[in-house]
């Protein structure tokens, strides 16, 4: 049963990931990424990470993807020209990715970590629940938690500064132009 769940999640995750890079239209790529994220949330559940799975679906597949959808709709379909700055990039890139995969696989399968070859220890009740994660975040990792909140604030302010309309810049409002 657990095998079925794992392989369903794995196929969803890998299929979604391949669809993200294969789709021509960025909008479909975003939809494929949502499928990928939801499958990954299922895998997190199999690993007893309930809170991470819930956060993945609500924050990632929900909020962050809505942001992506809006920007994809705002920018519209982007033509990707066939011009390549590095000759043969289209063939070289998958080759490099495959080499990376082989390297990582060798590192994982040849590792001496004995914990990897087991199902893991028996977990205490309440492992990965919001209670436990919250306790860890607010006791052991309090500084990390505060740093994350500052980082989020800086990112929000930075995004507004970057994307906001500044006065005196050679900005053109596209909405006012006649449709080409």
């Amino acid at each position: 049963m657990i095998y079925v769940a794992f392989f369903a999640g794995a196929i969803g995750a890998v299929g979604g990931a391949i669809a993200v890079i294969a789709m021509r239209n960025p909008f479909y790529s975003v939809i494929a990424l949502v499928i990928h994220l939801v499958s990954l949330a299922g895998l997190f559940l199999l690993l007893y990470a309930q809170f991470i799975a819930a956060a993945q679906v609500v924050v990632y597949a929900g909020a962050v993807m809505v942001l992506y959808v809006f920007v994809a709709a705002y920018v519209g379909a982007v033509e990707e020209p066939l011009w390549e700055p590095i000759p043969g990039q289209r063939f070289l890139a998958p080759l490099l990715a495959a080499a990376l995969l082989v390297e990582l696989s060798i590192a994982i399968l040849g590792t001496g970590l004995s914990a990897l070859d087991s199902d893991g220890p028996t977990l205490p009740l309440g492992f990965g629940t919001p209670t436990q994660i919250g306790n860890l975040l607010l006791e052991r990792f309090l500084i990390v938690f505060e740093a994350a909140s500052i980082l989020l604030l800086v990112a929000a302010v930075g995004a507004v500064t970057l994307a906001g309309r500044s006065r005196g810049s050679p900005d053109v409002d596209r909405a006012k132009e006649p449709a080409a």
Binding site: S29, A49, F127, L136
Partner: protein, 99 residues
Amino acid sequence: MTVTWYVVLSAVLFAIGAGGVLIRRSPLVILLCLELMLNAGNLALVAFSRAHGNAEGQVFALIVMVVAACEVVVGLGLIVAIFRRRLPLNVDELRGLKG
């Protein structure tokens, strides 16, 4: 279901994301591929947390999600700014960093 399966799956997802960053030229899709790579890292972190029976890896995964959200916000802000200035949305043509 040993933990190795999850870690190998995360390696596969990471390689797919890295390949996407190398192949695609649209900055939007490159951001999506970065998400793929960060999520592969998250899966490995959660798998290791399971292997050791220690929930601290899950806190780490949560912080990675926060960092990914920040990266998305700044990246999408940049894309909107590029689009507003009527520059081409193609990373090969946007090579100069001089403002």
